[in-house]
């Protein structure tokens, strides 16, 4: 027995060796690459305030590029929080920039998921070991809290064309005080995907899709009645992988802006307003009627791809990734209450360095990444969205839509995409909203009570931090 077990261990060791040989081992640098693309974007009204704020950061006017004769070669440390296909594309573009530049070389480092990156950056800022540039979620809450508004000046430079970027996307790059302190890169919106076969079996004409949440509710009931193609007990009509993200979109559609900033600069969370409670009540109805399963959001994508879910709300970045699946997938624009709106998500590029030479280098990198051709290339390869309006007018974008109709849905949604302001406790807010929705779904709290409690906890943390 003992000998056989050791033989088994030996065989496993050999298996490890075989897979190591079979896999073509790349150079370590392949994961370290990251690119950041930057673009200068700001509206004219933003520019003046932004310039003043930015000058406070570095003490120099960054709206004008440094003279070429003054430039020195520098190495930029760049952290990035995107992985998989997106990480590969990002590093590829960054490497291309590195290769094309005599003055700038890059040290790229994957920094983990959004939460990991936030922890890593927080720790690094305390010890002065932060990167020069970072591609991360909620970047404005970091640069903004540091009073680093250099980006507001940089985006005013010639050749950047800040007005070409969707206004809603700019809102995603602002600190709560209003200044722009990041640039968009790897932006996404929630998209309503559907299983074409299920909807067909349910007798729903998706050439005339539901536009309101009430219509959507009726369509879901039809799916429950006659759309269960696999005859599964766990079949449901609708689910969402990120409940908080959709909830915030629905709140905005119903007239609740989630967070308001008063004239004196105070942040006031308002996600327990009557409008938000209406949304939460609708949410509960989805569960009570069996349209959506309670608390099974983490399995929603698998359920959808195995053909046991009619509708799924998930990031637009899935458009380019669901290419080799066995179900027929379509997408429709997000249903709405009063007005069309979807909350933006994804990452932004921020500059942490205060070194003048490095800021110039960082801007070179960002400008490269946010050039229309590079940004569109990144978008179509990863499923993230183009940030410039001009990108959608290109032949490449038209060809992508021709090939995959879901792109047009995601692109159209950009015109009414929206972002709430960034502030330090926005991570806590997301957690509290997710917790409230979970309790509503499981019936342990009524919508009003759940949202009140969530808001209470958020305000409590904000007050504690303020003290």
């Amino acid at each position: 027995m003992k000998r056989s077990m050791k033989l088994l261990a030996l065989l496993l060791g050999m298996l490890m060796l075989i897979v190591a040989i079979v896999g073509c081992v790349p150079e370590p640098a392949s994961v370290n690459g990251s690119d950041s693309r930057d673009e200068e974007t700001t509206t004219a009204s933003d520019s003046d305030d932004a310039t003043a704020a930015a000058e406070e950061s570095t003490g120099v006017d960054l709206t004008v590029a440094m003279d070429a004769s003054e430039r020195e070669p520098v190495t930029l440390e760049v952290w990035y929080a995107v992985s998989g296909t997106s990480g590969e594309m990002f590093t590829e573009q960054a490497q291309a920039f590195d290769d094309s530049s005599d003055l700038v070389s890059l040290e790229l480092s994957y920094s983990g998921g959004s939460n990991d990156t936030a922890t890593k950056v927080s720790a690094a800022l305390l010890t002065g070991t932060e990167p020069d540039v970072a591609l991360m979620y909620a970047g404005p809450s970091f640069t903004g809290s540091l009073g680093n508004f250099d980006m507001a000046q940089l985006i005013q430079r010639d050749g950047f064309d800040a007005d070409d970027i969707y206004p809603g996307i700019w809102d995603y790059c602002r600190y709560y005080t209003g200044e722009i302190c990041a640039v968009p890169y790897g932006i996404s919106t929630p998209v309503m995907y559907y299983n074409k076969d299920i909807l067909e079996a349910a007798g729903v004409d998706m050439t005339n899709p539901p536009t309101s949440w009430d219509e959507f509710y009726e369509v879901c009931l039809q799916c429950l009645e006659s759309g269960n193609l696999n005859g599964m007990d766990g079949f449901t009509a609708f689910d969402v992988t990120d409940p908080g993200w959709l909830f915030k979109s629905m709140c905005m559609q119903n007239g609740c802006s989630i967070v308001e900033v008063s004239d004196d600069g105070t942040i006031n969370p308002v996600f327990n307003s009557d409008e938000a409670v209406e949304v939460a009540t609708y949410w509960k109805q989805l569960v009570d009627s069996g349209i959506m399963a309670a608390g099974e959001h983490s399995a929603a994508e698998n359920k959808f791809l195995s053909g046991n879910l009619a509708f799924l709300v998930m990031s637009s970045n899935r458009i380019s990734r669901w290419t080799d699946v066995d179900i027929n997938i379509g997408a429709i624009e997000m249903p709405y209450f009063d007005t069309q709106s979807v909350a933006l998500g994804g990452n932004v590029l921020v500059i942490f360095t205060q070194d003048e030479q490095k800021i110039e280098a960082a801007w070179d990198l960002i400008s490269y990444l946010l050039s229309p051709e590079n940004n569109l290339d990144f978008a179509l390869s990863t499923g993230y969205l183009p940030v410039r309006q001009s990108e959608l007018e290109t032949e490449e974008a038209a060809a992508a839509i021709e090939e995959n109709e879901m792109y047009s849905v995601a692109f159209n949604q950009l015109s009414y995409a929206w972002a709430y302001v960034h502030f330090e406790q926005m991570g806590t807010m997301d957690l509290q909203i997710a917790d409230a929705l979970s309790r509503i779904e499981k019936g342990t709290r009524e919508p009003q009570e759940a949202l009140d409690k969530a808001l209470e906890k958020l305000v409590s943390e904000m007050e504690f931090d303020a003290e």
Binding site: K2, M5, K6, L8, A9, L12, G13, L15, M16, V19, A20, V22, G23, C24, V25, P26, E27, P28, A29, S30, V31, N32, E77, W79, V82, S83, G84, T85, S86, G87, E88, E107, S109, Y110, S111, G112, G113, D116, T119, K120, S122, A123, L126, T127, T129, P131, N230, E301, N302, L305, S306, G307, N308, R318, R321, W322, D324, V325, D326
Partner: protein, 278 residues
């Protein structure tokens, strides 16, 4: 007598079937992971689910190697896990011996303090620890990964409970014969606690092998990064690429499996002994 034996056999068959079902349920995730590692994406999502791949493919393993520097991460994980395990075991064995076989002022307070440290979540100490390690200039070094993770409380307390079972009279006799503490420890206490030491070693190795957040925070260079960071790189954005994740997980789990196979006998014995002690 014969009837009683038959009854016993019948009862054992029932027990056997129950245990067999239990064992199958334990094995199922591992078998599924192994089979999925060789499936195509279409096979993974096919409905109804299919056990065996329609086409056995090594492509998933190739894809993993294409996306991350798997061998470098693998080597780093093995090195840091072995070093960390070795250091933890040396410190824990010495500490456990001191706590159970020596007498010194504040002994109980020290034990209580050590126990209480286990109740502090790692996330709370993450940033303070980073400040300390960073101030020592250990960012992007193996030492930076290994040293802060030598938290010996669990293994020390685990070993203490076993060392305490070694009779003091035996140790006193050895001391009278002229043995020093190190000799008593290595020649008497450790040989009588092999099971516990194996268990503690396995737990420590597992903890080090799957450690993710700390190595991620303290390193930025690929040459120092470990396997869990590489796996995360696959998981975050490739959440629908289960076949690739399964291939990576299968490769990641093999060293642990090998360690377990070699330590199995001691591990089972120590668990059995733990049950008898109570």
């Amino acid at each position: 007598m014969q009837l009683g034996h038959k009854k016993l056999v019948r009862r054992n068959w029932v027990l056997f079937i129950i245990l067999f079902i239990g064992a199958l349920s334990m094995l199922f995730p591992f078998v599924w992971m192994t089979l999925s590692a060789f499936k195509t994406k279409a096979d993974v999502y096919s409905y109804p689910p299919q056990w065996l791949p329609s086409v056995w493919t090594w492509q998933n393993f190739k894809d993993v190697f294409d996306m991350i520097p798997f061998v470098r991460y693998y080597a780093n994980s093995i090195y840091t896990s072995i070093m960390q395990t070795a250091l933890v075991m040396v410190i824990s064995i010495l500490a456990a011996y001191a706590l159970t076989k020596l007498r010194f002022p504040g002994q109980r307070i020290y034990s209580a303090f050590m126990l209480s440290s286990m109740f502090v979540p790692a996330v709370v100490t993450m940033i303070p620890l980073y400040l300390v390690v960073s101030s020592m200039g250990l960012n992007d070094t193996y030492a930076g990964i290994i040293l802060p993770q030598i938290n010996t409380a669990f293994t020390t307390l685990l070993l203490s409970s076993f060392f305490a079972a070694v009779p003091n009279d035996l140790i006193d006799a050895a001391r009278l014969d002229g043995c020093g503490h190190m000799r008593v420890l290595t020649k008497m206490v450790m040989p009588n606690s092999k099971g516990a030491i194996s268990t503690a070693t396995l737990f420590t190795f597992l903890g080090a092998w799957k450690s993710y957040t700390w190595p991620l925070i303290i390193t930025t260079k690929t040459e120092y990064r470990t396997l869990p960071i590489g796996l995360k790189y696959l998981v975050t954005e490739s959440s629908s690429e289960y076949q690739m994740m399964m291939a990576a997980s299968l490769m990641a789990i093999l060293p642990v499996l090998i360690v377990f196979i070699f330590a199995e006998k001691q591990l089972v014995r120590s668990i059995t002994l733990t049950g008898m002690k109570s």
